[in-house]
């Protein structure tokens, strides 16, 4: 494999990283908002979110990406393959993040809420000042874990023609007729990306344990 091939792999890795990053940056707050709808039992909306989470958990990313890419233009929404990829990853990760946030909310110690009320805090105040900072600590390890799952699922967007770190190996193999080296290097790059996240997750878990005790 030539230096040009290696450059293509780096570009593919960059595509994988930025698309996943946008999906994460959008997916975490969306999941947070949806989880609030669920725990506050907002009528109708709560049922819709529950359905979305159940469907989002069950739909393969390959199917979702294809669906968005071919269906949205029918409704007059012009969508290029990169946007479709980002939207598919975001919809997918947000459904998982909703559950992460929801369990962080449900696991929050009731005694602290009572203490906050006894101090005269209103719900809005103790939610933002007392609950959210601690929920953030307890949810972060699972959120990072979901990020590794997202990166591992991201090759699905290759199906709509996005040249990510997986797809680029086909391109290189088509030039060199040697498919093995680019696949091995791409695999090594995924291992590097994911092991960074796994290490981050372990560190956050330790910190969360420290805060919990």
């Amino acid at each position: 494999m030539t230096a040009g091939g290696f450059q293509m792999l780096l570009n593919g890795a960059w595509t994988t990283i930025w698309i996943s990053l946008i999906a994460i940056v959008c997916g975490v707050p969306i999941g947070f908002g949806f989880s609030l709808i669920r725990v506050k039992r907002v009528p109708v909306l709560s049922q819709i979110v529950a359905l979305y989470v159940s469907l989002g958990r069950a739909t393969p990313l390959v199917t979702l990406a294809l669906f968005l890419f071919v269906t949205l233009p029918v409704f007059g929404i012009d969508i290029d393959k990169y946007t479709a990829g980002v939207v598919a990853l975001t919809l997918n990760t947000a459904s998982f993040n909703t559950e992460v946030w929801r369990s962080a909310y449900l696991a929050f110690p009731q005694s602290q809420i009572e203490a906050a009320r006894a101090m005269g805090m209103k719900q809005r105040l103790y939610f933002w000042r007392i609950m959210l900072p601690q929920m953030w600590y307890s949810a972060l390890p699972s959120l990072v874990n979901e990020m590794t799952l997202l990166i591992k699922a991201s090759p699905a967007i290759a199906v709509i023609g996005v040249v990510d770190l997986t797809r680029v190996t086909n391109r290189i193999a088509a030039q060199t007729y040697e498919p093995l080296p680019p696949i091995l290097i791409a695999g090594a790059m995924y291992i590097v990306i994911i092991s960074v996240l796994v290490r981050l997750q372990r560190r956050l878990e330790k910190r969360a344990e420290r805060y919990a005790t």
Partner: protein, 221 residues
């Protein structure tokens, strides 16, 4: 003719895609669980070489995307003269990739088992295979039903990657209907509902296992 009628007229395609997805999912789930169960003992082996080798295999699989691993089998192996067709590569990929995850879940569950229990089983004459099959493995499976349910859903979702190496699964069927008749909406909605049905059945299975676990005084929370 409406789009839905076109799709319904072509139902054998969707049905065969669905059949293939179920077949891939079922076979690889059984295979991955059996292999994973076989691996969990050696993962805790006294022999350092075996332990390190298995741990690096498990960690490696857990850091690779499934599709890259399938590429390795389907496009990479022919370099060594091993040519697999898409089905074999896909099925092998699903089994080998997910058995690492199953083994890791079982190992984690085993760490939670009280050590005294194994010792008392040994005192009652349970050794080797019988100890594993009758005492340890049933508890590991019953204890971690929800985690296994999640893993089954990942296996189901990973089957759809195989359309990229031309396996004619449910997503492939939906996609080919879409491009043949230019009906973008219905085939995918049907496909997504079918995936949903499978995943709801998995969740039902998990609840049933949890009930069994509870009857036997096992299971967390």
């Amino acid at each position: 003719m409406t789009d839905l009628q076109i799709v319904l007229n072509e139902w054998p395609r969707l049905a065969s895609g669905f059949g293939n997805t179920v077949l891939l999912f079922g076979t690889s789930a059984v295979g991955a669980f059996l292999l994973g169960a076989l691996m969990v003992g050696p993962l805790r082996s006294q022999n350092k070489v075996i332990r390190v080798a298995l741990h690096s295999f498990v960690d490696g699989m857990r850091m690779l995307p499934f599709l890259i691993f399938v590429y390795l089998l389907y496009y990479g192996l022919p370099t060594f003269g091993v040519k697999l067709d898409a089905w074999t590569a896909g099925l092998l990929g699903l089994i080998i990739y997910h058995c690492a995850y199953v083994a890791e879940i079982l190992r984690g569950a085993w760490d939670q088992l009280p050590a005294g229990q194994t010792e008392s089983a040994q005192a009652h004459g349970y050794h080797g295979h019988r100890l594993m099959r009758r005492i340890i493995l049933p508890q590991l499976f019953l204890n971690s039903a929800p985690v296994f349910g999640n893993q089954l859903i990942y296996i189901l979702k990973d089957t759809s990657f195989l359309m990229i190496i031309t396996v004619q699964d449910l997503t492939y069927a939906a996609s080919s209907l879409q491009s043949m008749y230019f009906v973008p909406l219905e085939p995918f909605l049907i496909a997504m509902s079918l995936y949903w049905v499978i995943s709801l059945s998995i969740e039902g299975l998990v609840r049933a296992v949890q009930r069994t676990a509870k009857v036997r005084g096992l299971g967390r929370a």
